[in-house]
């Protein structure tokens, strides 16, 4: 044991004496630290935004409920906040949250006209991408590892020490094993330490932290093994590194780019614009159509209201909301195809990512942190469910009961309540989600 420690201690002293190794490791630590710090502040900002929105939303809703009595106006002027909070692990993998919207305000009007609104962040910053922990590990760590390990053998060869070292060393491990171990541990510590501090601050689940540690160590070990193996018989360090960096470019850029091209060519999706155009035409045409046409279409999908669709005047709110829903239903097929295409693309991208370790890591990580496209689909699905519960709340008042008393407004659904009800259900993921997405 003490022999082993002695070897490691010697290599550790060697490492400290090589300035460029120290610079590399310090830079790794700084980058990882910056990524974790900025990730934490981003997540805090998002959480604070949601809190502010919740408060403002409540005030606004109370105002509207004071001002209006009839269910039609209430439904027209009441907006309801929907949102998707960042998870405790989101700081380490900000994922797609800068691309997919995570907050909306919905009312009872046609959903297809509202759901594509995006309260996105600065597009020019989104295009550059953010630096988060998963980026540091998946994209930068391989490069750092390559720079740390590519010259392990070549360096000794060019200095003419290689053969002497090999013949005088007690064992293979005593020489190379200790050197590799020290560098590997150093780089892992530099990478992971800021992450652990981040998990402490954000109260991440221990199981998640363990799993992240596991995949990160495997990932870094993979790149280490590759670099060591490739550099074993080489005498020119730059040559080794060139090939390794070339491999990195291949798996990080080229394969994903080609995969993306192929997927986009094979998966056809309706144009988003067509969905809203269809929906708008349907809703606007309804004004000129006989009321019966609209109501018949409405009753076809909502038979429980069939005895209450007669109208006394040329404008009634129940008809207004009925044609809103009919508009949604008309666009439904396109909307499903649009969502299905997005989902198919996501799944195909999963296959491509098996050929690209950096993307595989990002995908696994963002899934764990619920910041990927799937989480965004899930949020959209929740919004649809919430809109449905809004309709279920308003329709009895609109079709039968007339003005709701103020006390009844307490039962108005809120996004938070809808989410709480969902907690009993098992987590919807993968294929299961696809089925559920097809429910309006």
């Amino acid at each position: 044991m003490s022999y082993l420690l002695k070897q490691l201690a010697r290599e550790w002293r060697f490492l400290l004496r090589q300035k460029y190794l120290v610079v590399l490791l310090v830079c790794t630590f700084v980058m990882s630290g910056f990524a974790v710090f900025s990730g934490l502040s981003e997540v805090t900002q998002q959480k604070q935004t949601i809190e502010r929105l919740k408060a403002a939303d409540l005030t606004d809703l109370t105002n509207v409920q004071h001002k209006y009595e009839d269910p039609g106006s209430l439904a027209y002027y009441s907006f309801h906040l929907t949102y998707s909070s960042p998870s405790n692990l989101a700081f380490a993998a900000l994922g797609e949250r800068d691309i997919y919207p995570w907050k909306h305000r919905l009312n009872l009007l046609a959903l297809e006209g509202q759901i594509y609104e995006s309260d996105a962040q600065n597009a020019e910053l989104a295009q550059a991408g953010k630096i988060d922990f998963v980026f540091v590990v998946s994209a930068l760590a391989p490069l750092i590892v390559i720079l740390l390990f590519h010259d392990l053998f070549a360096n000794e060869r060019t200095s003419g020490r290689h053969d002497l070292l090999v013949t005088t060393a007690k064992s293979y491990f005593a020489l190379w094993g200790a050197r590799i171990a020290v560098r590997l541990i150093a780089v892992i510590v530099c990478l992971m330490l800021p992450f652990y501090i981040g998990t402490l601050l954000s109260h991440s689940a221990l199981a998640d932290v363990g799993f992240v540690t596991f995949i990160c160590v495997i990932y870094i070990a993979f790149w280490t093994a590759l670099s060591v193996w490739w550099g074993k018989n080489a005498s020119s360090a730059p040559r080794v590194a060139s090939t390794l960096i070339g491999f990195w470019v291949l798996v990080a850029f080229i394969i994903p780019i080609l995969g993306d091209l192929v997927i986009n060519k094979t998966v056809h999706s309706p144009k988003g614009g067509d969905i809203v155009l269809t929906q708008r035409e349907a809703v606007n045409d309804a004004w000129d159509l006989p009321k019966k046409t609209t109501m018949d279409a409405f009753v076809a999908s909502n038979p429980q209201w069939k005895d209450h669709v007669d109208m006394q005047s040329e404008f009634e709110w129940k008809w207004y909301y009925a044609f809103q829903q009919v508009g949604d239903e008309k666009a439904g097929e396109l909307s499903h195809a649009y969502r299905d295409a997005a989902h198919t693309r996501y799944q195909l991208a999963g296959i491509v990512s098996w050929f690209s370790p950096p993307l595989l890591l990002q995908r696994t990580f963002t899934r764990l942190a619920s910041t990927d496209a799937l989480a965004a689909f899930r949020y959209e699905y929740r919004m649809r469910g919430f809109h449905k519960s809004l309709r279920e709340f308003y329709y009895p008042w609109l079709f039968i009961k007339g003005n709701p008393p103020k006390a009844a407004l307490k039962n108005m659904p809120s996004f938070k309540k809808t989410m709480l009800n969902e907690m009993d259900e098992p987590e919807v993921t993968g294929v299961k989600l696809k089925e559920n997405l097809s429910v309006n």
Binding site: V23, M31, S38, Q45, T49, R52, A56, E96, I99, K103, R105, E117, S118, D119, A120, N122, A123, E124, L125, A126, Q127, A128, G129, L140, L143, L147, A154, N155, T158, S236, A237, P238, R239, A241, I245, F253, P256, I257, D260, L261, I263, K271, G272, G273, V276, L277, E281, N284, S313, E314, Y338, A342, L348, A349, V352, S353, L359, Q362, A373, A376
Partner: protein, 482 residues
């Protein structure tokens, strides 16, 4: 430099090429680089042309369906609304920039400013998070790496194989040697830039300004020159090939991979910009003071009503020669729009400020500088998107007010008030579909090439500063090569 010296430089450059031609690595790298550049130019050109075509078509369909609407109450058309599509600029075939990250269509209707919808990135595979097959990405990120792989050993190789002292003692000055190696690398730069330049020149045919094309090519040339100088410097400073290589690879990671992201992360942390939903609350509070334009009895319009009665010298709104409801709609739309514009302007300013912060990083990373320069010159930067938002807002306001004018002048107040009485009354409260011709054809054009070139001056200065500093550094070490 005398003729004699120049021919020496050329000899050194030729010799470097001879070395590359014999090296498998250099040739592979060069071939890959050229294939990638050419492929990206072709693929992106096709994609962007398709996009441009689709959006032109969608715009035409949208214009037509508006004009083709049947006889209606004019206010129905205000809510029917209109779609505007952002057609990409000709040069965006070389750098799509933020095109995929902002919605490319916007729904224009009365009383509201909607955000742009359907960003392509949301239908994407998330596979191109690290990089995409666009000429911009290839030349900004990968080309420097290729240059490093080819050129890292330019001087250090001579030193390591001990030919350097021989060369210098034979009367070749350090400066000549470095210049020669530099010339060889510059010829590689020219090779990489050729497909880019040809493609850029093609856009002149589609109406792109010469100034923009020239700035674009010059910007990329300057950027790659920065890398040539960095490579020459590292190669001259380090005594070993491996040292030069490690240093350059590390610098590349920092400048090309890390810095752009640090810039955007810092910008969004340093300058917070409230989202649209959040500012909408403030907008709503301010709008509440203005009154609801659908409700003529809203107390907010009392004064307006009185001034109208005085103007036409009548005692009740029924006697007015014009439609009071239309006037209220028009009046409230104008007031509302000024409020909406105020907040929209604030939001755009905040975004611009954020972007500005990230662009300052161009002083520390030439990659950030060329990234902004490229997007600005091409017309795919945030400024272009803001221009789109402003122009579509103008379009929105014009057609809504056009419809309100029709409402005021062509529909009588009595018919309007009775519109919900029965089917016949509803039919009567309509105007002819010919009135829908008020819609102006919308084609989005980016800023003039002069304006874009002017906007890119800071980024040019950033690149020029890099070049000046590096030239100084090389001059300094050039005298002490041994």
């Amino acid at each position: 430099m005398s003729i004699n010296n120049f021919s020496k430089v050329v000899i050194v450059a030729k010799d470097e090429w001879r070395y590359w031609l014999r090296s498998k690595l250099a040739m592979t790298v060069l071939a890959i680089g050229l294939v990638l550049t050419v492929a990206s130019v072709i693929v992106t050109a096709i994609t962007m042309m398709e996009l441009s075509h689709t959006r032109h078509e969608l715009q035409a369909t949208s214009d037509k369906s508006f004009v083709d609407q049947p006889d209606r109450h004019p206010h129905r058309m205000v809510h029917y609304g209109h779609y505007a599509f952002r057609t990409p600029s000709p040069l965006s075939t070389l750098d799509p920039g933020i095109d995929a990250y902002t919605g490319n269509s916007i729904f224009l209707e009365g009383h509201r400013q909607n955000s742009a919808m359907f960003a392509d990135s949301r239908q994407g595979t998330a596979l191109t998070k690290l990089g995409s097959l666009t000429p911009a990405f290839i030349v900004q990120t990968l080309a420097p790496l290729l240059l490093i792989l080819i050129g890292y050993s330019g001087i250090s190789r001579e030193r390591e194989s001990q030919t350097l002292s021989y060369l210098l003692s034979q009367g070749t000055s350090g400066a000549t040697l470095i210049a020669g190696k530099g010339l060889a690398l510059l010829s590689v730069v020219a090779l990489i830039l050729t497909p880019l330049t040809i493609s850029a020149l093609f856009t002149l045919g589609s109406g792109e300004g010469l100034l923009a094309v020239a700035s674009f090519v010059l910007g990329y040339a300057l950027y790659l020159i920065v890398w040539v100088l960095l490579i020459l410097l590292a190669s001259s400073v380090f005594s070993k090939n491996s040292g030069s290589f490690t240093a350059l690879a590390f610098v590349w990671i920092l400048l090309c991979i890390v810095m752009p992201r640090v810039a955007s992360t810092t910008a969004s942390t340093a300058v917070s910009s409230a989202g649209k939903i959040e500012t909408d609350f403030a907008v709503k509070a301010e709008l509440r003071k203005l009154g609801d334009g659908h409700n003529t009895n809203d107390p907010a319009f009392k004064q307006f009503k009185q001034s109208l009665l005085n103007k036409y010298n009548v005692s009740s709104i029924d006697e007015l020669p014009v439609n009071f409801r239309g006037l209220v709609a028009s009046e409230s739309e104008a007031k509302l729009t000024s409020v909406l514009n105020k907040f929209a302007e604030q939001r755009m300013q905040a975004e611009l400020k954020q972007t500005q912060v990230s662009r300052y990083f161009g002083w520390v990373s030439p990659m950030v500088a060329i990234r902004s320069l490229s997007m600005i010159v091409v017309g795919t930067s945030i400024e272009t998107h803001h221009r789109f938002l402003r122009e579509t807002e103008q379009l929105r306001f014009d057609f809504v007010q056009g419809l309100n004018k029709v409402h005021v002048e062509k529909l009588s107040y009595q018919d309007d008030m009775n519109r919900n009485a029965d089917t016949a009354a509803t039919q009567k409260a309509r105007v002819s579909a010919q009135n829908w011709q008020i819609l102006q054809d919308f084609t989005f054009n980016v800023d003039s090439s002069k304006a874009r070139a002017q906007r890119s001056i800071p980024a040019f200065l950033q690149l020029l500063l890099w070049i000046a500093v590096l030239l100084g550094g090389i001059k300094f070490v050039g005298r002490r090569l041994l």
